[in-house]
């Protein structure tokens, strides 16, 4: 009965199909709407097959990725056979956008000889006992490379999404100095890292950037997406144990050190931001492991790399804190609601420390006295 009464009350006339609306459009049937939707999405999938394949390839390891690859692979083959991947390539070429390629080649320079200058330990640190935050040795004023408004220090900031907020804060703090020039926007790329060059090849990108532009200081922050087992772009014959295992850490340190060397080889100074404490204790533990790897590589390059302990700077008694007091005693929200990223005030705290570290090496103030 209920069914019959439901059917009897169906809204709208059951007249001939395609009856027009008051604005001249024709109505359609639900079946036709469904057919158009499904066919449109299928055609769109073929036209975007290359990018779909890359997105699937970039997913974290697991069954979902395997299943998706099994579907996206043939889709890409069909698209290429029918040359349906061409229109998107034309649009991307015409607008100067990057094509979806999977590039896992990692080319790293040999490290520079290590300086023998001692590493000083400064700043508060939330790292486990025995680990200290190294600063570059503060050079005598006369030893510092001096920059002026006519010979500016060129500053570039790059990394995963965690670099974005502190990166802008560094630009605010240092960028207002007439002897400092920022190189491009903060190059923060969401969901990237050093373990998955297939997602975004930072090694190639940084090499190209330092070759193309003159850069004196680079602020890096990596690792937010690196706390998992899978690494692509491994040297031939290399096998890994799981995340945090000796082989994994050795390969990760090679990559971190390699990033520092790319900049050092081009004459640049690196400021490496550690990963911050998060509201997830397990994640914070994993990130501390990554921080230890970066810290060790920074210590090996004392004088050329400064390590800024974002973990300690943004914690309260070693624990996660959404709010911290500023120097005026006011509470400020320093962490984003996701418990991972930084709010503007958190970025400002980090930026002050970055500026302090850069000033230990470079002089961009004395020109005012001349």
């Amino acid at each position: 009965m209920a069914v019959e009464s439901d059917r009897a009350r169906e809204v709208g006339p059951r007249g001939p199909l395609g009856s027009p609306t008051e604005e001249g459009r024709r109505f359609s049937t639900a079946a036709r709407a469904l057919a158009v939707t499904m066919l449109a999405l299928f055609l769109a999938a073929l036209l975007n097959a290359q990018n779909i394949y890359k997105s699937v390839y970039n997913q974290p390891e697991g069954t979902q990725r395997e299943v998706a690859l099994a579907l996206a692979g043939p889709l890409r083959e069909v698209s290429m056979a029918l040359r349906l991947d061409r229109p998107r390539a034309w649009v991307e070429s015409a607008t100067g956008r990057e094509h979806a390629t999977i590039d896992t080649e990692i080319v790293l320079p040999p490290p520079l000889p290590t300086e023998t200058t001692p590493v000083t330990a400064t700043g508060k640190s939330a790292l486990p006992t025995g680990e200290r935050t190294p600063s570059p040795p503060s050079r005598e004023e006369s030893e510092k490379v001096a920059f002026t408004p006519r010979n500016k220090m060129r500053l570039w900031i790059a990394g995963d999404s965690l670099v974005i907020t502190p990166g802008y804060a560094v630009y605010r703090v240092l960028g207002r100095n007439d002897a400092v020039e920022t190189v491009g926007d903060v190059d923060g790329r969401v969901a990237t890292g050093l373990t998955r060059p297939d997602v975004f090849n930072w090694f190639r990108h940084v090499t190209e950037q330092v070759e193309k532009r003159t850069i004196h200081t680079v602020v890096f922050c990596f690792g937010g997406n690196d706390d998992h087992d899978l690494m692509t772009g491994l040297p031939e014959g290399t096998s890994l144990d799981g995340f945090g295992g000796p082989k994994w850490v050795k390969e990760y340190r090679r990559r971190v050190g390699g990033m520092m060397d790319i900049v050092n080889r081009a004459g640049g100074f690196v400021v490496w931001l550690s990963l911050p404490v998060t509201d997830d204790a397990a994640q914070s533990r994993r990130w501390r492991l990554l921080n230890r790897a970066a810290l060790a590589e920074a210590q090996r390059r004392a004088g050329k790399v400064a390590y800024v302990d974002m973990y300690g700077l943004l914690s309260k008694d070693g624990e996660f804190a959404s709010y911290l007091r500023n120097p005026d005693g006011e509470l400020e929200q320093v962490r984003a609601p996701d418990g991972v990223h930084l709010e503007r005030a958190g970025g400002d705290i980090v930026a002050k420390e970055v500026a302090r570290q850069v000033r230990r090496v470079y002089d961009f103030s004395s020109w005012r006295n001349q």
Partner: protein
């Protein structure tokens, strides 16, 4: 689940045919769509489906109680306050807890008191502002006698229906519940309008809004002391929601109507987030007394409504400032009209249109500075920059940025007959041709879109 994602496309491809298959037996369709909506909501964080279910149960229970108390004015009013208070308490906790606590603590510090309060960041459940307002409108409409309580099942569909759940529009009970009660006709689906809204919404969101956010807005607001230019374009997310609802056979009210073509701030609020504007009018401004209690009370009501409207958009004093600017502008316009009368729009010359639109646009953009700024310091830097940094280079104002701005603003002035004619032609194409047009539109949108389409909320790192 966000609309412009592959996950949503798969979800919708499953829900759309099942919805139409079950539609003739609407008593089976309703549990199905409630289940689908809860799956949709739980994709973000499954724990918050308890909150959504709680909101449904609370509002339905209280609506029935309010209705049963007809004739007992005091009791009915008390139940209304309890129901509305319950809704606002939940919204207040999740959305405003840390804002109120940190503001209180800072105020205490300012006057020399040391009151350590429990400041913590509370996760804001997606869509809570929208479904809380819809719940309140249901209760108030029952109280006013504008509608009667429906069944729990129908109310659950009304509140949780996934097209409007995350970002509106704020649909009223008498707009949606009658549509839920009877099966939608499978022979009268306005697909051409639906596809147009979805495709245009995706293009605005993925290409224009994301491009401008990533290439100029985010950086300018991060470094306000270094830039002097500004443009904001808010994504018209609800267009997609309206299009999706149309494909399922449901009609939602229009939410945006070329707001940057407004000739006054009052006109702007008739065109901008229209379902929120009328909610504020009907459930806040009019209950406060509207314009019926004298000039001073009218101005107070306008200001109060816009201040609270500002706070609805976000928990921060800059949002309150945004509301204050709009409230002040509305008061000023009203004052002017009362003193000098109103020129009917039919008699506007192009000069009238030009300067009115120009002035309105600038007031709106000025207010956006506060809306987008995280602190008053940032807003102040932006404003001083507008007046002091003329002639400085603007490296972010590139050709593509100007083009995106031009397309965004130009679309506001497109005569309605143009999309109407395009849709009439599109609706007469065969299935394959329609699908091909849509596929190319999707491909172009994806190719031109930002490569990191997550500028507002970081779902990943």
């Amino acid at each position: 689940v966000l609309f412009p994602t592959a996950t949503f496309a798969i979800f919708f491809l499953i829900v759309l045919p099942l919805s139409w298959l079950l539609m003739p037996r609407v008593h089976r369709w309703r549990p199905f769509i409630i289940g689908a909506s809860f799956v949709f909501y739980s994709w973000w964080d499954w724990r918050f489906i308890v909150l959504l279910a709680g909101s449904i149960l609370w509002n339905q229970l209280m609506a029935v109680r309010v209705h049963q108390a007809v004739g007992q004015r005091a009791r009915q009013k008390a139940l209304l306050w309890l129901a509305v208070g319950g809704n606002l308490a939940v919204l207040g906790y999740f959305k405003y807890y840390d804002f109120f606590v940190s503001s209180t603590e800072n105020l205490a510090t300012l006057v020399g008191l040391d009151i350590p309060l429990d400041v913590r960041t509370v996760i804001l459940p997606v869509g809570i502002s929208f479904y809380t307002f819809m719940g309140i409108s249901y209760i108030v409409d029952v109280y006013r006698g504008d509608t009667e309580p429906t069944t729990l099942e129908k109310f659950a569909v009304y509140l949780s229906f996934f097209p409007h759940l995350v970002a509106g529009p704020i649909v009223r009970p008498n707009e949606l519940i009658p549509q839920i009660e009877t099966p939608r006709s499978p022979r009268r689906v306005d697909t051409s309008r639906a596809f147009y809204l979805i495709a245009a919404g995706l293009f605005k969101k993925v290409v224009i809004s994301s491009y401008l956010a990533g290439h100029i807005v985010d950086e300018v607001f991060a470094n306000p002391d270094q830039y002097s230019s500004l443009e904001i374009l808010i994504a018209v997310y609800t267009d997609i929601a309206i299009g999706i609802a149309l494909l399922l056979g449901f009609t939602f009210p229009q939410n945006f109507d070329s707001p940057y073509a407004a000739v006054s701030i009052q006109d702007f609020w008739r065109r901008w987030h229209m379902t929120l504007s009328r909610w504020l009018r009907d459930y806040l401004y009019i209950p406060l007394g509207g314009s019926r209690r004298g000039v001073a009370i009218t101005y107070r009501n306008l200001l109060l409504t816009m201040l609270l409207g500002g706070l609805w958009h976000g928990a921060g004093w800059t949002f309150v400032a945004w509301g204050l600017i709009h409230g002040t502008a509305l008061c000023a316009e009203r004052f002017w009209r009362e003193r000098h009368g109103t020129k009917p729009e039919e008699s506007f010359t192009w000069v009238d249109y030009f300067w009115r639109r120009l002035a309105t646009f600038h007031v709106v953009c000025f207010a956006w500075i506060f809306f987008r700024s995280e602190t008053f310091g940032v807003a102040w830097d932006m404003i001083t920059g507008l007046f002091t940094r003329w002639g400085q280079p603007s490296p972010l104002v590139t050709g593509p940025v100007l083009l995106a701005i031009a397309v965004g603003i130009g679309s506001q002035y497109l005569p309605p007959r143009v999309p109407r004619a395009i849709l009439a032609v599109f609706s007469r194409l065969n299935v394959v041709a329609q699908a091909a047009v849509l596929a190319v539109a999707l491909m172009v949108t994806q190719a031109l879109g930002s490569q990191d389409v997550a500028p507002f909320i970081y779902f990943r790192f």
